[in-house]
Structures are given as structure tokens and as C-alpha cells.
């Protein structure tokens, strides 16, 4: 009975002549955390980019029941979709504070400052460094900034592309704990691309495995964790 937040049906995506996604079907229910696993070049990033119209896409993508293929990225973002791209995608020359302000670019309400305070409470490091440029932050701090910036648009759907990339194990654990908290507190829906399958499956409800642009496996987090192929390929077991 749960409502669908995101539904990809028969999605193909290409960069010029190179087809990357083939007939991808994927669903995310409201409030769910869904993880996408897959090796390098499997098409994980491309899947997230397709949702935000950052790559040539055919097929059907519905966000909260609205078809978005053919729409502009700026309009899709205005449907409360936030995307933390691979490599964090902060604005390196701008201050931490300005990065958060840009995150709220689509908002017109009066609570932007309150939200900035809220996310600086959640990530006190960002408050300490609020006037520093984003480019001068450490990798972990940049990832916190990227997440806080994404949350500034008050998203209903959060797309996270390999948030653990390049971070120390302790920081990754802390970050995933935060994702779990954010999901529980705000009821936000998350689609997380991750190579760090252990941690991702801990906070996820369900998962998909991509190989060469196709979905080869899907199931509950529990099923995936115990699946032989997944254990071998992604859990290092």
C-alpha cells in the first residue's frame, strides 16, 4: 500500500553514441532507503543523472507520480529532489555559508536561516568553518557540506552518489549513521549509490545490483546481504 516516490520503467540512457543504461526498472517507496550496488562503470552514477535529466534518457521516470523524462533539471529539482553528485559537487570558491545558501536557491520562504542553523547544529564542523571556502575543507567536511547543502532545499527525495568515496572508515560510519537518523527524523526518501555495501545495506530497506547498465539483482537488504553473489562481489566475504 506504500506510495511510490520514484519509478523508473524501461530506462535507457546514453552519452552521445555510447549507451550506458539498458531497460532499467527501479522503484523506491516513500520514506524508504534504497541502495544501488555495482562495480565501476556499471551505470550507477548514470542512473542518478538520468533521474535529474543530466544525461540523454528514454523510457519513463516518475517522481511522486509525475513523468519527468523530457523535463529540465531545474524543474525536477523544484519537485523537492536533491542530488549529491559523485565527488561531492560543492562550490569550491564559495564560502561554506554561501554553499548552504545556494542549496536553498529554489526556496522563497523565510525559514532558510533557521535551516542553515539546523544543519550547522547537525554538523558543527560546518559552523566552525562557515566563512572558509568549500575548497579548503577536508574531504569529510566537504561531504558533510554536500549533504547539508542538499538538505537545504528540504528534499523529499535525496539522491546520494557514493558518499563514502575517499573518506576514512570512521567518518564513513558516522556519515551513514547520520543518513539513518535523517531518514528516520524527516521521513525523507533516499536512493544511495554505494560501493561500501556493508554499511549501505545496514541502513537500507532494499537494494538493486547493476551490472553493465542492467539490473541483475534486486531484493530486500536482508536478502542481498545473504546472497552468495553479492557477498562475493561487494561484501568481501
Amino acid at each position: 500500500m506504500s506510495e511510490l516516490m520514484l519509478k523508473l520503467s524501461g530506462v535507457n540512457a546514453r552519452y552521445g553514441a555510447i549507451q550506458v543504461l539498458r531497460d532499467v526498472n527501479l522503484e523506491v517507496n516513500k520514506g524508504e532507503v534504497v541502495v544501488v550496488l555495482g562495480g565501476n562503470g556499471a551505470g550507477k552514477t548514470t542512473t542518478l543523472r538520468a533521474i535529474c535529466a543530466m544525461v540523454t534518457t528514454t523510457g519513463s521516470i516518475q517522481i511522486a507520480g509525475t513523468e519527468v523524462v523530457g523535463k529540465d533539471t531545474a524543474d525536477i529539482v523544484r519537485m523537492q529532489v536533491a542530488h549529491v553528485p559523485q565527488g561531492r559537487g560543492t562550490f569550491p570558491e564559495m564560502s561554506v555559508l554561501d554553499n548552504l545558501m545556494v542549496g536553498a536557491y529554489t526556496r522563497k520562504d523565510k525559514e532558510i536561516q533557521a535551516d542553515i542553523d539546523r544543519w550547522m547544529d547537525a554538523f558543527p564542523r560546518l559552523r566552525e568553518r562557515r566563512t572558509q571556502t568549500a575548497g579548503s575543507l577536508s574531504g569529510g567536511e566537504q561531504q558533510m557540506l554536500a549533504v547539508a547543502r542538499a538538505m537545504m532545499c528540504r528534499p523529499e527525495l535525496l539522491l546520494l552518489d557514493e558518499p563514502s568515496l575517499g573518506l576514512a572508515p570512521l567518518i564513513i560510519e558516522d556519515l551513514f549513521r547520520r543518513f539513518g537518523e535523517i531518514n528516520r527524523e524527516t521521513g525523507i526518501t533516499m536512493l544511495v549509490v554505494e560501493q561500501n555495501a556493508n554499511l549501505a545495506l545496514e541502513i537500507a530497506n532494499r537494494g538493486y545490483v547493476l551490472e553493465a547498465g542492467e539490473v541483475v539483482l534486486q531484493g530486500s537488504a536482508e536478502d542481498l546481504r545473504t546472497n552468495e553473489a553479492v557477498r562475493e562481489a561487494y561484501l568481501g566475504a
Binding site: C52, M54, D72, T73, A74, V77, R78, A82, H83, P85, G89, T90, F91, P92, E93, M94, D98, M101, V102, G103, Y105, T106, R149, C153
Partner: protein, 345 residues
């Protein structure tokens, strides 16, 4: 230059090998070569040459900022900028002399007109092309420059026109400082430049469109992902840069007179200024503008007195501008205050 002598010897040598060191050394050589002539000329003459350079400095700064705005947003050099500015100065002159518009009203109308033209150029000729493929866009800006020059020549002739001064410009309108004359026009130009820089600061740092502009300049992909309409933001950049260019052209046209190539001749100095200061740094390009203007004034003023260089005359400044651009690109591509280097055209 005083900071150099206070540094310890070891660090001085390593510093000298850096881009900034090479640049400063080059400037120092020029200045030292000029010292005998400067001493011989006396303080009054020196001061006069500094005052004379301020007007150019302000105009280079305004023109350089117009280049920097487009470069920041697109990492492209807008070769049409100079002629958009030139055309705007013609519009201003035409409104003033043929229709009796007060000069400042004419300046603002011309800025608005070319701002609209700039935004139309972005929308119709720039946006359809892939932003990552620089060559077609650079060729287009060259084409626009040629078209505007042809139109200006066709509409208003190739001959020189006298341009009305936007400031009190009677020979008596000047301050006297230590015997040297500081013209009201120069002071007025500096004030307008200062106001303009403050206006741009407010626009970029205190408004939403400014926030979007900075975001697009910093990271286009991420700007799209937070909902910025990048096309419209670049269009705003084009409009702003075009209007600013017109202001610069109107400030300098009194000295140079109007003719279809008058800004194309001047833009090389603005480009040198922006390259020196950093093509993505507004503050840096202002500093670069005044360095270029002072050095230019000193060289043309005193340079002919250096033995063997008399034949170079005022063309020497142009040579210097090219040399400066080359040296900066070779040794310190990001400029003094910039963060990015020129990777493609």
C-alpha cells in the same frame, strides 16, 4: 617592490623563481631602467604622468571587469566585448548629438540597449552550442565583433567623431597638486569606476541572481543540480558585461575619439590587465589595470629617453601589453589573484 628587499636571501631566491617573482622582476627592470629619466624629470613631471595614467587605469579596469565576468561564467574570452562597447558608445554619441539626450541619460540608455543586445546574443548565438566546445563560440564572438564594426562604420562612417565628455572638461577644470594637474575628468572617471565596482559587489554578493552567477562560475553541474537555470544566468552575465563595457567605452571616448576600431585597440590593455590580475578575479583585474596603466604611462613618457629605444615611441606600450600577457601566461597562468588558468582559448 619594498617587500622584496625585506625578505631573507634564501627565500628571496626561491620566490624569484615563482611566477610572481618573475613578473615582479620584469616590472622592476622596467622601473629601474626608467629611474634616471624619472629623477631627471623631477617630481612634478612624475606626478603628472601618474595622474595621466589614472584615467586609463579606470577604463582598463571597467573593460577588464567586463571580460572577467564572461570568463568567470564560461571560461571563455569574449572577443566581441570590445566592439559591443564601441557600438554602445556610438549609440550614446548619436543620442546625445542627434537627439539632444543629456550625456548621462544617453550613457544609461546605451548601456541598457547593449545589455539587451548582449543577452540576445547569448540566447540566440551562444546557448545553442555545447559549452564544453570552445572553438565555435570563440569564432562566433569574433564574427559578432566584425559585424558590429562593419555596422558602426556603415551607420556612422569611418571618420573620427568628437565624443562629449561626461564630466566638466574645461582646460581649467582641474586640481593642482605639487604643481601637477589632476583633471576633474580623471577624478570623475575614478568615482564612476568605484561606484561601479561597489555596485557589482552588491549585485554578486547580496542578490539571488548574483548567488546563482557565482554558483554557475564555480561549478556548472552542481549549479544545475540545485535548480539554477544556467542559461538564464549566463544571459544575465552577458547583459551585465555588455552594459559595463559600454560604460568603459563612454568614459574613454572623449580621449580617443569615436571610430569603429577604437575599443578594439584599447581592449588589449584591458586583456593584459585582466590576465595580470587573474582572469577570474574582479579585484585582481582592477589592480592589474592600474599597474598596466602606470607602466604604460611611464614607458611612453620616459621610455624614449632610454638610449636606443627612442624609435619605439608610444607603440612600445602595445608591445609591453603583449609581452606582459605572454609572460603571465607562461609563468603565472592564473594571474596575481586568480585561481584558474586559461586552459583553452
Amino acid at each position: 617592490m619594498t617587500a622584496v628587499t625585506t625578505k631573507s636571501r634564501g627565500s628571496f631566491l626561491t620566490w624569484l623563481k615563482t611566477g610572481s617573482g618573475i613578473l615582479t622582476a620584469m616590472m622592476a627592470v622596467i622601473v629601474i631602467a626608467l629611474i634616471p629619466a624619472i629623477i631627471q624629470g623631477g617630481l612634478k613631471l612624475f606626478l603628472q604622468r601618474v595622474f595621466d595614467s589614472l584615467n586609463n587605469g579606470a577604463v582598463y579596469a571597467v573593460t577588464a571587469i567586463a571580460l572577467v565576468i564572461i570568463f568567470k561564467a564560461t571560461t571563455l574570452i569574449n572577443f566581441a566585448g570590445a566592439n559591443i562597447a564601441m557600438f554602445g558608445a556610438y549609440v550614446c554619441w548619436w543620442l546625445n548629438t542627434s537627439y539632444g539626450f543629456p550625456i548621462w541619460i544617453a550613457v544609461f540608455v546605451a548601456m541598457g540597449t547593449m545589455g539587451v543586445l548582449g543577452s540576445l546574443i547569448e540566447r540566440t548565438l551562444i546557448r545553442p552550442f555545447d559549452v564544453n566546445d570552445h572553438l565555435p563560440v570563440v569564432l562566433i564572438t569574433f564574427g559578432i565583433a566584425a559585424i558590429l564594426e562593419a555596422f558602426a562604420g556603415g551607420l556612422w562612417g569611418l571618420e573620427f567623431h568628437k565624443f562629449p565628455s561626461p564630466f566638466p572638461s574645461d582646460p581649467k577644470d582641474r586640481f593642482t597638486i605639487a604643481g601637477a594637474f589632476l583633471r576633474y575628468e580623471t577624478v570623475g572617471t575614478l568615482i564612476v569606476m568605484g561606484l561601479m565596482i561597489y555596485g557589482i559587489y552588491l549585485l554578486l554578493n547580496k542578490t539571488k541572481v548574483g548567488l546563482a552567477f557565482r554558483a554557475v562560475s564555480s561549478n556548472v553541474e552542481s549549479a544545475r543540480l540545485v535548480g539554477v537555470r544556467t542559461g538564464r544566468t549566463l544571459q544575465f552575465g552577458w547583459a551585465l558585461a555588455s552594459a559595463l563595457g559600454v560604460l568603459g567605452a563612454c568614459l574613454v571616448a572623449k580621449q580617443t575619439n569615436l571610430e569603429p576600431a577604437f575599443m578594439a585597440k584599447l581592449v588589449i590593455f584591458a586583456f593584459a590587465a585582466a590576465t595580470l590580475g587573474g582572469l577570474d578575479s574582479i579585484g585582481g583585474s582592477v589592480i592589474g589595470a592600474f599597474i598596466v596603466a602606470v607602466v604604460q604611462s611611464m614607458l611612453t613618457g620616459y621610455g624614449q629617453e632610454i638610449p636606443g629605444l627612442g624609435w619605439l615611441k608610444s607603440n612600445f606600450a602595445l608591445v609591453l601589453a603583449f609581452v606582459l600577457i605572454l609572460v603571465v601566461l607562461l609563468f603565472k597562468p592564473a594571474g596575481l589573484y586568480g585561481t584558474r588558468r586559461i586552459e583553452r582559448v
